[in-house]
């Protein structure tokens, strides 16, 4: 690669700085609100919009020790954790079948999977609630986990299948010649190679359980004990006199784990989002 010209370099840094400000200011703004006394989201003081002036940790204290926030987080962790596990195992087994077997209806199955995604999800709420009720899962966390897993299944199966496709099947065939069965050789050889895509799948599973709130609100309506962090926070925000400082603190606390996960898995993400792509 050639060294870019100085003008191009300046342009690059200018783009990056503008993008970073665009990306980060809303988060910085939330942080400022969370350490500002008084519980208001805005300040008429110009400098206060960019740098902290008076720092208080009271909002964090309130949300961590007075509000039922820890219970919400525990519920969310439980739901998101199990969704992640279910998502990875289901998507892996489905994607394995779609990538490694040649069978009648394979292609139409894949297309049908994508077609299911095209249905307006808000309108699925009523039937989902209805069928979960018939299955005895309405108002339980298990029903929610099932719904989230299904919701991410289409994207994750497609993405994993795309990644498996880029792993040469020859490797597994060599193992099969050495006497391994197809499943054994897949698990021992292809799966370890697919680590980036598995990490991506896990991340999407976790995200859907950790951040979704429309469905949670419908399926867990009225059961304050089972509220997840999104419902709890959304309810706080819809109060007439919202304690915005506390909301901001809670929002930050909820976002931090996801941000850390993203940063940790970033390398994998870049390699793992094949989208049926061109790698290999």
């Amino acid at each position: 690669m050639r060294e870019p010209s100085p003008q191009l370099k300046i342009l690059s840094y200018a783009i990056l700085i503008v993008a970073a400000v665009f990306a980060l200011y809303p988060i910085w703004f939330t942080f400022l609100a969370s350490i500002r006394p008084g519980g208001r989201l805005f300040t008429l003081d110009l400098a206060g919009m960019f740098v902290p002036k008076v720092v208080t940790w009271e909002n964090f204290q309130q949300i961590l020790f007075v509000k039922p926030f820890p219970i919400w987080v525990r519920n969310s962790l439980f739901i998101a954790g199990l969704t992640t596990i279910a998502c990875v195992s289901l998507a892996t087994s489905g994607a394995f079948a779609f990538s490694r077997f040649q069978f009648v209806g394979r292609e139409s199955g894949l297309i049908l999977l994508l077609a299911l995604q095209a249905f307006p999800g808000v309108l699925a709420l009523v039937p989902i609630a209805l069928i979960l009720q018939r299955l005895g899962l309405y108002g339980t966390r298990w029903g929610l986990i099932l719904a989230y897993t299904t919701g991410t299944l289409v994207f994750t199966t497609w993405n994993l299948k795309g990644y498996f496709d880029t792993i040469p099947i020859d490797l597994e065939e060599a193992a099969m010649i050495d006497g391994a069965g197809p499943i054994q050789s897949f698990v021992r050889i292809a799966l370890p190679l697919a680590r980036p895509a598995l990490a991506t799948t896990a991340l999407f599973g976790f995200m859907s359980g950790w951040t979704e709130y429309v469905m949670a609100q419908v399926l867990l309506a009225g059961q304050a004990q089972k509220y997840t962090a999104p419902i709890g926070l959304a309810q706080m925000a819809s109060d007439l006199s919202t304690p915005w400082g506390q909301y901001a603190a809670g929002a930050l606390l909820v976002s931090v784990p996801v941000v850390i996960l993203f940063l940790w898995l970033q390398r994998y993400l870049e390699a793992g989002l094949t989208m049926g792509g061109v790698k290999g």
């Binding site: 690669m1 060294e3 370099k9 783009i15 970073a20 990306a23 980060l24 809303p26 988060i27 703004f29 939330t30 805005f42 110009l46 195992s89 087994s93 489905g94 990538s99 490694r100 077997f101 040649q102 069978f103 394979r106 292609e107 077609a115 299911l116 095209a118 249905f119 307006p120 999800g121 808000v122 309108l123 699925a124 009523v126 039937p127 069928i131 299944l153 199966t157 497609w158 795309g162 496709d165 197809p182 499943i183 897949f186 950790w210 951040t211 999104p230 926070l233 959304a234 929002a251 909820v254 996801v258 941000v259 993203f262 970033q266 989002l273 094949t274 989208m275 049926g276 792509g277 061109v278």
Partner: protein
């Protein structure tokens, strides 16, 4: 060659691996669609609501009426699809309509109103030069391979034709007519407009940042990447509320900043056009990292040798970008475009938290940002217009399904590992 199982053993294995996925999809994806198709044929609304426990005194009469299938229908079908088991004369119960497509007829009547179709035709005529530029430049490139004549000038010519036609054919008037047409039509139209406004911005921002971040000469590359990916990680209900706050008229951050330089900021969320722009901005903020990451991944898979070869042939960096990078990105970017188009089309959460579909444009008319999902939510959960919106959902589903199929043909991403 695929995996070594043959015959029925292979199908058993496939079924075993797909069963968990299939079962959960049938219960929670397919059933809602079927249920919705059924609702779309009923007259369910505020005046005809579901009764989940069937009155026992109806049982005998029902079984008498359906001697063979009666018990099965009553015990299994009716608890879920009660519209099949009701007496249309009974007030307050919802039933399958007579004829069953009555809701669809009502919708399509709205859609095929002559003045709406004429206005749409005029708008299509106005943008026709751009479509022509796209098609003809593709054809020229195809025909004069490998060294086609330059076609870039098609675009400015097409664009100026569009502007000319806009005034000639009174595009603004046509748009007004559409605005006043039935809600089904205008909701679809605005949603498509929203997708068309968002997706190129996702791509442009994601692509520009991916190019910059992929440069080896960047100081602190890892740190920049970390900073710029963060919006993706913030849960959307949180970012929506923060942005909603930014757009407020009095205390909103944007208007506060504008006031500093002596400008009186507009009322972002109360002006139809600005509200639309606002939800586009928020969606761009939330979605460009996904494109950026996908494109970075794809950029890294382009062999360096191609650029070296292009350089030997005397291609400028700009030409390399246009003729090497962009075509090779296509297979990776197309699926991202398809998926993002579907999610943008179905955006609910974020837009709802920012505008609630508003600003209102008069009683009974959908607001300026009332996209498909918001419209459906409002009609079903606030006005209980289930039957008609069920039909609307089915029509939207069919359109999206067709669009998905078409885009799949463009991407060829369904082929397997062994092909």
């Amino acid at each position: 060659m695929g995996v070594t199982y043959r015959g029925w053993r292979k199908y058993l294995a496939v079924l075993a691996f797909l069963a968990p996925t299939l079962i959960s999809l049938i219960i929670l994806s397919l059933f809602p669609i079927v249920y919705n198709v059924y609702i779309s044929m009923t007259n369910r609304n505020t005046f005809h609501y579901p009764v989940y426990d069937m009155p026992q005194e109806d049982r005998a009469a029902f079984i008498e009426e359906h001697p063979v299938t009666g018990p099965f229908l009553w015990n299994v079908v009716c608890p879920i699809f009660s519209g099949f088991c009701c007496d249309p004369d009974q007030p307050g119960r919802f039933c399958v309509e007579e004829p069953f497509y009555a809701n669809y007829a009502e919708l399509l009547q709205d859609f095929f109103a002559p003045e709406a179709l004429r206005a749409l035709g005029r708008l299509l005529l106005i943008i026709a030069p751009l479509i022509g530029a796209y098609v003809s430049s593709n054809q020229v490139k195809e025909r004069f391979r490998p060294s086609p004549p330059p076609t870039w000038w098609y675009w400015p010519v097409g664009a100026s034709l569009v502007i000319g036609l806009w005034f000639l054919l009174n595009g603004g008037g046509a748009y007004q007519t559409l605005n006043n047409a039935g809600s089904f039509f205008i909701v679809m139209f605005r949603t498509v407009l929203y997708v068309i406004a968002c997706i190129p911005l996702f791509f442009l921002l994601g692509f520009a940042l991916a190019l910059v971040l992929n440069s080896e000469f960047l100081v602190g590359r890892a740190l920049w990447r970390v900073l710029i990916i963060i919006p993706w990680a913030v849960p959307s209900y949180i970012s929506a509320l923060i942005w909603q706050f930014f757009f407020r008229t009095e205390q909103g951050t944007i208007n506060q900043l504008l006031r500093l330089i002596g400008l009186e900021g507009p009322r972002w969320l109360l002006n139809p056009t600005l509200a639309f722009i606002s939800v586009v901005i928020v969606n761009v903020w939330m979605s460009y990292p996904f494109f950026m990451v996908t494109i970075i991944g794809a950029l890294q898979s382009i062999p360096q040798a191609l650029y070296e070869a292009a350089e030997v042939d005397g291609a400028s960096p700009w030409q390399q970008l246009l003729n090497v990078t962009l075509p090779l990105l296509r297979p990776a970017v197309m699926p991202a475009v398809v998926l993002s188009s579907i999610t943008t089309f179905q955006m609910f959460n974020t837009v709802w938290l920012i505008t609630e579909g508003g600003p209102e444009r008069g009683a009974g008319k959908p607001g300026a940002t009332e996209f498909v999902m918001i419209h459906a939510y409002k009609e079903v959960f606030q006005k209980q217009n289930d039957g008609l919106i069920g039909a609307f959902a089915v029509v939207v589903f069919i359109i999206l399904f067709a669009a998905t199929l078409y885009s799949l043909r463009l991407t060829r991403i369904t082929k397997g590992a062994y092909e």
